[in-house]
């Protein structure tokens, strides 16, 4: 027995380090998960503290190094390029335990930018690359991360959101996983995770990716596929971008117009980015890695914002990308489309277009001519006025107003706009505004005729509009005085259910001069609230309190009460006299 005991103790001593390590990993994993959540919520300071704590316990924890690098890159308060470089370097040095996470990140990024592919195909997509299928098992660390239900249920290696939705932009999202990775993809594919703003992992993906580190050309074609499975095909199907030819020449889009508010044309990966991705990761400099990460990060932000129609945010991200990569046209290019999709900034679109051209982009860009945009809206307004669709016509004219407010346009377009607005005002029976619109149009007409010989609408037409508006105003009956207005009676629903508030007060009714009604009249109404409030109401009545939203019904008749009192007092007096006699 003693021998067994000794054996057991020895066994425990042998296992102790492993158990402690497992426990430590649990804590580290938990801290990393929380840190990631904080990072995604942009709580960089708190995330930084957590990752630094992890590094105290495990100085070679690659994921923490990676996130710290991103924190020092993305946080305004903590921005420190030197630290970014140092942590990227550390992350790379510890790459063996790093690959799963990097790939998961690449999936997250693809998921964020996934809908962008809608501009290529509205259906599910198949990513085609030039690899030989190689099945890779999931590592233990990858299993511990939260997985979409579909993934867990199907037991397949991974699932990726391939549900697509316009409008958005496309290059990175429509390419192979490695395109999105800030560092070229290493090894096995892992599960996709959902982000806070992302969509659910919609479809299961049969995934087979290479186990090797170095990657061949990464720009891939996308084909519609009902089963939405990712598979790999020979290199012949790929369309790698040439370093000397702008990627947009691969996919020539239709010119951008207001009627067709489509996403920007699909781009390939930027040539320099594609080149970097093709290289062995170990040979890349830290500066190159930072550049690639910056590109991917802001690109995903633009994608995500456009996907949510948040063009303001997309513009911000594009501008930041433009600043971070001052030699590349991708920033102004994306900004131009974001501005154009917002639909109201021809001047800003023009500025971004010029910047993109200055940086070497020679493909198609959104139309930045305010006059063209205005003409489209004016034509739309005319059609709607002809069909007496006044509200739609007004929408089109308000679009013109928006453009006018941002961009100087020839004065003659003001005349047309105000004249048409006058017509819409008449149609919507806003005669006062109609008179204002026509009068303004007449003033503008005089100036436009003098400056450029305006000939679209005649002075007679505008004057006729003024006369019509004046007649309508004259014939509009005046409102009677307030006390002669027609009543609107309020319906009181039974039971009366206000939005009870927590405000509590009290009231007392006083009737000075009526000594025989003293002490001052205090009447508390019958219970009128729903049964479940009865108890509370009783308490309130004892406290003589009221709650916001209450109706307190005080029903009394002073004359009747005094008359009754007089009769009662007189009767008493009479009785007293009779008894006395």
């Amino acid at each position: 027995m003693n021998r067994i005991l000794v054996l057991y103790i020895l066994l425990i001593l042998m296992m102790l380090p492993a158990v402690q390590k497992a426990q430590g990993q649990g804590i580290v994993q938990a801290q990393v998960n929380i840190g990631k959540a904080l990072y995604e919520k942009k709580k960089y300071e708190q995330a930084e503290k957590l990752f630094l704590r992890v590094l105290e316990a495990e100085p070679s924890h690659a994921i923490s190094h990676y996130y710290l690098a991103r924190i020092y890159l993305e946080s305004k308060a903590l921005k420190d390029v030197e630290k970014t470089k140092a942590h990227y370097q550390k992350a790379i040095e510890n790459e063996i335990e790093f690959k799963g996470e990097i790939q998961r990140l690449s999936f997250e990024r693809q998921e964020e930018s996934g809908p962008a592919s809608a501009s290529v195909s509205p259906e599910s997509t198949r990513v085609v690359s030039n690899r030989t299928p190689t099945e890779i098992p999931i590592s233990a660390t990858e299993r511990s991360a939260p997985q979409p239900e579909a993934d867990q249920a199907s037991g397949t290696l991974a699932s990726v959101d391939t549900t697509l939705r316009a409008p958005s932009i496309s290059p990175a999202s429509s390419e192979s996983l490695a395109v999105h990775s800030p560092i070229p993809v290493v090894g096995s594919i892992t599960e996709a995770t959902t982000t806070d703003s992302g969509r659910a992992a919609g479809s299961t993906v049969e995934t087979t990716l290479p186990a090797e580190i170095s990657s061949p050309p990464l720009v891939s074609t996308i084909e519609p596929l009902a089963s939405s499975s990712i598979s790999e095909t020979p290199a012949a199907q790929t369309t790698p971008s040439s370093p000397n030819i702008p990627e947009t020449q691969v996919a020539q889009p239709a010119p951008f117009t207001l009627e067709q508010r489509t996403a920007p044309p699909a781009l390939g990966d930027r040539d320099w980015a594609a080149e970097l991705r093709q290289k062995d990761r170990g040979k890349l400099t830290v500066e190159q890695l930072v550049k690639l990460a910056t590109y991917d990060s802001y690109y995903a932000q633009v994608n995500r914002s456009m996907d949510h129609d948040d063009y303001g945010q997309a513009i911000k991200a594009a501008k930041a990308l433009s600043e971070q990569l001052p030699d590349d046209w991708i920033g102004p290019y994306l900004e131009s489309y974001a501005q154009a999709l917002a639909g109201k900034y021809p001047a800003a679109v023009r500025q971004a277009n010029e910047e993109a051209r200055n940086r070497g982009y020679d493909g198609p860009l959104p139309d930045a001519d305010p006059v063209k945009l205005i003409q489209v809206s004016l034509n739309e307004a005319r059609d709607n006025i002809a069909g007496e669709n006044w509200i739609e016509a007004e929408s089109a004219l308000y679009r013109v107003r928006n453009i006018q407010s941002y961009d100087p346009i020839p004065f003659k377009y003001y005349v047309t706009t105000d004249y048409l607005l006058g017509k819409v005002s008449m149609g919507l029976r806003d005669f006062g505004s109609a008179l204002d619109d026509y009068t303004r149009a007449l003033e503008e007409y005089t100036r436009a005729s003098r400056d450029s010989g305006y000939d679209q609408i005649t002075q007679e037409q505008i004057k006729n509009g003024i006369y019509m508006a004046q007649d309508s105003l004259i014939n509009t009956p005046l409102l009677p005085p307030v006390d002669q207005l027609q009543e609107v009676f309020a319906e009181r629903r039974d039971p009366y259910r206000p939005d009870w508030s927590s405000r509590v007060g009290s009231y007392t009714i006083r009737m000075p001069g009526y000594e025989f009604l003293q002490p001052d009249y205090q009447k508390w109404p019958e219970e009128k609230q729903p049964a479940d409030r009865a108890e509370k109401q009783e308490e309130q009545q004892e406290d003589r309190s009221m709650r916001g939203g209450d109706i307190q019904d005080v029903d009394f008749n002073i004359q009747k009460t005094l008359k009754r009192s007089a009769i009662f007092t007189g009767s008493g007096l009479l009785l007293l006299i009779l008894l006395g006699l």
Partner: protein, 310 residues
Amino acid sequence: MQYTLLLFLVWISVSASERQVFAQTVTAETPLDQVRRTNDPVEKQRILRTAIREDSANVEARILLGASHYKVGNLEAAMEQFGAVMALADTTDINYADAEFYSDEINRLFKSLRIRVVDRKISALGYIEGIRLLFRYPRSLTSEQKFRLEYLEDEGKRRRNEFQFSSIDADKRPYLEIPYFPVVVSLDDVSYSKYSLVVGNRRYRYDFNEEKHDSVSVLWDENWQLVERVPTDLVKIEYPSIYTFAPADTSAHFTLVDPKSKKKGTYIPADKEVDLVLQESTYANKEKRYNRVIKGLVVVAGFIGLLGTR
């Protein structure tokens, strides 16, 4: 036997260590993690509300819930959460800073808009059932402002009290007050930048910018139905219309008459102690007469009583 015992001990040791690791991973999960796993905004809000119910001081959940409301344009609910965070969290807390930021943004980008009905006398405060309004704005709004407009225009989403008569103006006309209406900031040329409000087949133009907040005057639409409801900051004291009451002090109040029910309603602040004093009565003369009669009778009774005792 010995080997069985040994195996048993080994199994116990291993399973115990595994459980510990598992437990640590589970306890690390926060509402944020749960929220991240779902894409349904309603489900997200449900998770966060549950987290807040379980721990009312969970400022992180409150911030997330407030931000979620902010994103969909439900700004009253958002401000409620941000206010709670600022009350609960320390000023150095990052959540406090977030709440402050959101609150400032809301106050910068939104102002109250008043809409008053000019061609009708309103007998009681309430909300308008079936009201449909369409807003146009002169210059592009931020995405949050657009979400707010969508929310206000959507009868299914918005709260009823967002189109509620909340008080009366200087002309004694009740007005609807829309809290948190998007205001266009930094307009260059105000003269070309008017808002418009479309009600049914009528349009009303008005100014609404940082300097000027018009009260929009609209005409009553025959399809509307006024349903009585007292705003949450007021209490209505209802009494016969032959009397007139007013607070003894200077408490803000106003009175509306409902000729149909022959009642008057005086609206007083809900969170005050108010003395309502009788100002006028239609039958004041008769009442005074009865009062005098009672007085005389009491004096006579007293005199007789005094004589009787002697």
